[in-house]
């Protein structure tokens, strides 16, 4: 090991300055790249806001303006009142909350069974569930419409909630999460005579909380964005959800859509979602990454 010393004999000053330069350069490039991507990401949103503040005429100008010549804040007021967003908000919130709670219960039970209990055909059943994720869901609509009609569920909140309570994706996420909790905890609970439900409630659920929170958020977002199904199975404001209001309310007499007002409504509707997202981002990230995603 005689060459230990020679190997690193370099001009230290030169190395230092070069390395400083590289560090700064890398930082600059890093920020440049990230900021460029950020601009690309943010531009459509800017455009949405920009459009939402234009008059219909200005929106149609062949050369789009980067900021409205006359700023139409009134578009927002119009959007809110014409689409009766208030009522639709309440509907959406109601459907979102109820379906989230029920969905969580079902998902937790199912994921628990798949993660902790041993029964015949477990793996085959799970594989079957996963396979259903690969089928384009659009095809289900027709048949499901028939089913809910014969159940007499049209124009109820039930029809907006029940058919989508089970999500294979959420079951999958949660099962992965449960699998990472050591089985010894379950066995210990069994030895102590703890019931399954108590074990679930006291141990599994607290440990899987981030995943449950992300499921909650995804589910609420689902309620917020669902469109085709509510349109099909509900009539009028009493049971309509927010997106339906968005699409329907802004058609002019000629069948044209008043896009600026619609954009204003889109912005309004996205806002709560965005705030919730900002607020709970930490949990979403934890939840999704925690699922571990191992085979």
């Amino acid at each position: 090991m005689a060459d230990i010393n020679t190997m690193h004999q370099k001009d230290m000053a030169k190395v230092t300055s070069k390395q400083k330069f590289v560090t700064v350069l890398v930082q600059v490039l890093l920020y440049f790249f990230l900021i460029m991507v950020a601009i690309t990401v943010i531009f459509p949103f800017y455009w949405m806001i920009n459009s939402s503040l234009k008059t219909l005429d200005e929106y149609r100008w062949s050369v789009p303006t980067l900021w409205p010549t006359t700023v139409m804040w009134s578009n927002y007021a119009t959007a809110f009142s014409t689409a009766s967003l208030g009522k639709l908000f309440v509907n959406t919130l109601y459907v979102g909350i109820i379906s989230t709670i029920l969905s969580l219960v079902i998902t937790v039970l199912t994921a628990f069974a798949f993660a902790r209990l041993e029964f015949k055909g477990k793996n085959a059943l799970f594989a079957g569930l996963l396979a259903t994720m690969m089928i384009p869901g659009e095809l289900f609509t027709i048949t499901n419409y028939g089913t809910v009609t014969s159940l007499g569920w049209l124009n109820t909140f039930t029809v907006l909630i029940v058919p989508f309570l089970v999500s294979v994706f959420y079951i999958y996420l949660l099962r992965q999460n449960f699998l990472q909790i050591p089985n010894e905890l379950y066995l210990a609970a069994k030895v102590d005579g703890t019931s399954d439900i108590k074990y679930l409630w006291k141990i599994m659920i607290p440990l899987a909380l981030p995943t449950l929170i992300s499921i909650t958020i995804l589910k609420m977002m689902g309620a917020w964005n669902s469109y085709i199904w509510p349109r099909l199975v509900t009539r009028g404001e009493t049971h309509s959800l927010i997106t339906n209001g968005l699409r329907n309310a802004f058609t002019e007499s000629t069948g044209d859509v008043n896009i600026p007002v619609q954009m204003a409504a889109v912005a309004l509707v996205s806002l709560p979602l965005f705030l919730v997202f900002l607020f709970l981002r930490k949990y979403i990230m934890k939840g999704v990454s925690r699922s571990g995603i191992k085979g």
Binding site: M1, M7, H8, K10, M12, V15, Q19, K20
Partner: protein
Amino acid sequence: MEVVLQNLTKIFPSRNKNGSEVVAVNNFDFTIPDGKLIGLLGPSGCGKSTTLYMLSGLQKPTSGKIFFGSDDVTELTPENRGVGLVFQNYALYPHMTVKQNILFPLQNLKGEDKLSKEEMIKRAYDVAALVQIDDLMDRKPSELSGGQQQRVAIARALVKMPRILLLDEPLSNLDARLRLQTREEIKRIQRETLITTVFVTHDQEEAMSISDYIVVMKKGVVQQIGAPQDVYDSPINLFVAKFLGTPPINVFEGEVKDGALYIGEEKVLDTPNVENKKVFVGIRPEGFILDPNGPLSCNLNNIEVMGRDVSIVSSNTASVNPIVRSIVDADNKIAEGTEKVFFSIKPNKIFIFDHETEERIML
């Protein structure tokens, strides 16, 4: 390679706005002689790991300088310093085999340092032989025991022939038996390679047993530097005295009065050169001698026979701790039903410290 730490200071900014900043390392000044094994020792949070990370280049000092030999490496990034670092958790890449792990640093070498494939393999096998893992080369880290992983980590740090080898709590993840074995191993490897080695530990026994020098730190400040035995025999303050030694030193409230040291009412030592004041008295467990005429009396609690030695557990009202533990030769017999024991004290095993500053008062 001689390593010089010059007024090294590291301050971490506070986490929240109102919190105060944390001084992790304060004005560290030390020269590590070439080819020695140095143990950085102290309780957790004392700044020993920060010092190690500054040596590696992973953290930048707030002020002060680091020299490797004559090179000022303060501003250098880790890869340009030529250090080998062994992490507490080893940080072996789980997706690579032992061989790939060891080869990894060599494959990073560029320019004139670049090695041919054969050379790399040869070096990897040499170093593997040195740490005695050459038969495990195709395994993945998850298939190795803790001690084996430790050796792989050392091999990976050594393979690029670092100027300095740094070990962060190298033994903390091993069980007791392996720990003894591995620390001998580290000592052997260091002796064979003669690479200046710095390691961090909170276990004083570990540090004392293999280091050429130990550095005792507390709250970012170096307390004492020296050969292990010197530090043990001559602690600079109460903290160092308490930190070194198992079983730990016994501490008593004492007072110097008219040229003599008193513990309680008992005069245990003549201290002609010390002025009158309250002091702490530290007595190493092995500093007690059973002596019916001895000056220090204690109430006997029980006796633990440990083969060669006997550990006498007793109590004294002046003791800072609830018990006083003394270790005496097994030849000493104590009769059944004895309630009080009397000790005389070996003068070189008793230290007195200022009650205010806790600094050692030389006799």
